[in-house]
Symmetry: C2
Subunit: 257 residues, 2 copies
């Protein structure tokens, strides 16, 4: 099996190193990842300046890797279009430090890298640990390896991917695996407004999430109950059931209409 | 009517100025937009550094405006959370220079700004002119005004928005309005690899799109036939029909499973 690994925390993050080493047990692994943290870059790509790349080996494992001064989506594009000698069987993005749940997946560089893999028709998986401190990367990597092995065997439908969030607990405290939908995530107090030493205002994006109460079939609820959440995601943003309704609006424009 | 206008070409772009002036005919207009071009930023938000804002007036119209050193999504968040005295009835993003069609909407800052509006529960519209030169912004703005007026009256379902692409032709050459789905967009020769004067390689993202042949209910086809394309878009990336199938995979992990 040929696996491309990327992330949005940067190529020197612990999560990607532990993940890449674990996935080596399944086959050939190459890493193409941002040269620094690029969190919350969403599905950005770099078009206003050129990209530069450094060939490196990952510390510890010696895995062949490329550090790109761009976004996670740039990395997947460059890997497939130019850097790799083969088309990957699977693209795995992570292990992200911090959860990627609900509506927030739209902002996630980790998930966007996997979306990019799916755009190329490759089975893709995004993996996050649902904590910012004391992250249990080894357990998330072990589960990732198991899931990738299943995905490679069974395949995924075109233009779909899996978004995985693993609670950062001890393995004995895990409450199982839940197949979930993306829940709503509502943020409060989004900006922290401050004044700099010269009297000018600046804004930090911050905020607190209002936890959504619901069933274990919602990603954030499952994770809060110590379950690993797997959400299937698709790329088709068309709202099909609105098309017929919009047609009844009978919008006309232009000469002769 | 209270309208927030933003874009991803930057606050000094022609498209946003012409759009804002046209929308003034419908009600009160405020502009919050990036201080420079932020094309292809997707749904990026800025979390690794703080944001700064400049109060300005738009040249020509004197419309109150704020220039933000962040992404289109940052702008909509800041406008609603902090800068505006009112919650907008409509968020309008554009007029973008260049089309935002099919799969490419995932990369579009223009569309992402409208998605951000929809996340806040506000009826939102993204408008692009499907050309990079000789853009007919006045006609796109006129159509935008008409559409915004209809949307404000009829409303949109929660978490949906409209993605509009206007051909850059004379009004007499328009072939009407088509309600469309997002088509597939396949890019070829994505990277232009070059060598700098010091012998180091760099990569420009470029590429050519393979035009999709199909019916007029596909956005790119409609535009190529000189029709204004309106695609309804939703934010829910969950692939619901895959949930039951994944449950049959019977994935187990953890002690005691």
């Amino acid at each position: 099996m040929r696996i491309l690994v990327t992330n949005d925390d940067g190529i020197l993050a612990d999560g990607i190193s532990i993940l890449a080493q674990e996935l080596m047990k399944l086959g050939e692994v190459k890493v193409v990842a941002p040269d620094r943290e690029r969190s919350a870059t969403g599905h950005a790509i770099t078009v206003l300046r050129p990209l530069r790349i450094q060939d490196i080996e990952l510390p510890d494992s010696g895995i062949q890797a490329w550090a790109v001064d761009g976004t996670p989506s740039d990395c997947v594009k460059l890997a497939i279009e130019d850097l790799l000698e083969w088309k990957p069987d699977v693209v795995v993005s992570g292990i992200n430090r911090g959860p990627n749940l609900g509506t927030d997946v739209l902002y996630s560089g980790t998930v966007s890298a996997a979306i990019e893999g799916a755009i190329y028709g490759i089975a893709s998986v995004a993996i996050s640990v649902a904590a910012f401190d004391n992250c249990n990367y080894p357990m998330a990597a072990e589960f990732g390896k198991q899931l990738v092995s299943i995905v490679a065997k069974r395949g995924l439908p075109p233009k779909t991917l899996l978004n995985v969030n693993v609670p950062s607990v001890e393995k004995r405290d895990l409450a199982g695996v839940s197949i979930t939908k993306l829940g709503a995530r509502v943020w409060k107090d989004v900006f922290d407004r401050r004044v700099d030493p010269r009297g000018r205002t600046y804004y930090w994006m911050a905020g607190n999430v209002e936890e959504y109460e619901g069933d274990l079939d919602v990603d954030s609820v499952a994770v809060r109950h110590n379950m690993i959440s797997i959400s299937p995601i698709h790329l088709d943003l068309t709202k099909y059931d609105l098309i017929e309704q919009l047609k009844t609006w009978d919008i006309k424009f232009g000469d002769g209409f």
